[in-house]
Symmetry: C2
Subunit: 195 residues, 2 copies
DNA sequence: CCAATTCTTGACTTTACGGTCAAGATTGCG
DNA sequence: CGCAATCTTGACCGTAAAGTCAAGAATTGG
């Protein structure tokens, strides 16, 4: 018994995400968000709160999706080593094939806001910690499989892989050649200590 | 035969750099720059042009300094492998020991502006390309020294090291534990293929 | 059909932004 | 000294920012 909403929330959040992804948080104005969603100011504020709340919601959905994608890749079929290979290739393919080279929304947001918004930093920290843990678990499994040597701690290898993933993400934004980006992933994988 | 400037240009540029480093480009206002430099608006515009010009100048000085520091580390005394080790340690120490975890000004600027300012991207690209080339040259030297195996292309190893450096820079901004950051550098070094 | 409830619209307020400029201050040179 | 040249100061301008809110529109239950 009330007027129903005139928009699809998921669709609106999708447009908002694209806008923040393209421009970053600070450079995105509420007018931009109105334009891109087709919503009036009052609807936007009424449904999602202010600009920062909307941004954080967008960011939370994004990082949840990204985390799920990583988990899917690392807990999927195939041997642990194959899954690590698949993840590295998938991630670098994603970044290098994006014509705009926008990188990762969470990484961009962290770089932009780490000095101003502790809530963004804590979200970044917990997300990357979780990804690290997935990587470590997969390395451990590859070690148990006898594909990787146990001489180097799984934790250290997992962190190195995380670091390389983030390095690739960044270098993609600098416009590094796509083939070179891909080979970076191949190179770490080739250097992982085999049995 | 004219009124002399009332400020030290280098000092002003230093304050401006700190401000852009703390807040980023968009979130820094001209008022912030006035406050932090002590200059009036007219002086700022008269001496350095508009906000963007001032930013680009700041950025150019920064990346020149950073490049020189890398070159110094990679062309200094010691064996090539020792110099690579020193660079990795120096960089990760720099990032992890910064209480504010501000990361690298050039990397922050690239992440913030890559979708909006091609001039920033091209500056980033050329700087990282130059650093990559230094790394590759040092790897080649270590291979000639017989410290590193020739089985993996120096170019690939150099790019991997660049990627790890940028990964460490980023993870420092996420608040990753300092000891963990340091070990990432140690781990890549340990995995480089020895003879 | 009416009432209660929620949503939409867009005008409005306040503040801050980047940038310009005229007026006055400070210098060296002649 | 006084004039030309440069620098400083701060008022000013137009624009755009984030956020509020009152008035009207759409819906369902009674």
């Amino acid at each position: 018994m009330a007027r129903p909403r005139n928009f699809d929330e998921r669709q609106v959040l999708g447009s908002v995400r694209e806008q923040f992804w393209d421009r970053g948080y600070t450079a995105t104005s509420v007018s931009d968000l109105m334009e891109v969603t087709g919503l009036g100011k009052g609807s936007l504020y009424g449904a999602f709160g202010d600009k920062r709340q909307l941004f954080l919601r967008t960011l939370d959905e994004y990082r949840a999706e990204q985390f799920d994608a990583v988990r899917g890749a690392l807990e999927g079929p195939g041997t642990a080593l194959e899954r690590l290979t698949g993840l590295l290739e998938g991630v670098s393919d994603g970044y290098r094939n994006d014509a705009q080279r926008r990188g990762c929304l969470l990484a961009n947001s962290t770089s932009e806001l780490h000095g101003q918004d502790p809530d963004v930093v804590s979200r970044a920290r917990s997300t990357y910690q979780a990804v690290e843990d997935l990587l470590v678990a997969c390395v451990e499994e590859a070690q148990r499989d006898g594909d990787l040597d146990r001489g180097t701690e799984a934790r250290e290898l997992g962190r190195l892989l995380l670091s390389v993933l983030q390095g690739i993400e960044f270098l993609a934004k600098t416009g590094m050649d796509g083939a070179a980006l891909k080979r970076i992933g191949n190179t770490v994988l080739a250097l992982l200590p085999r049995t």
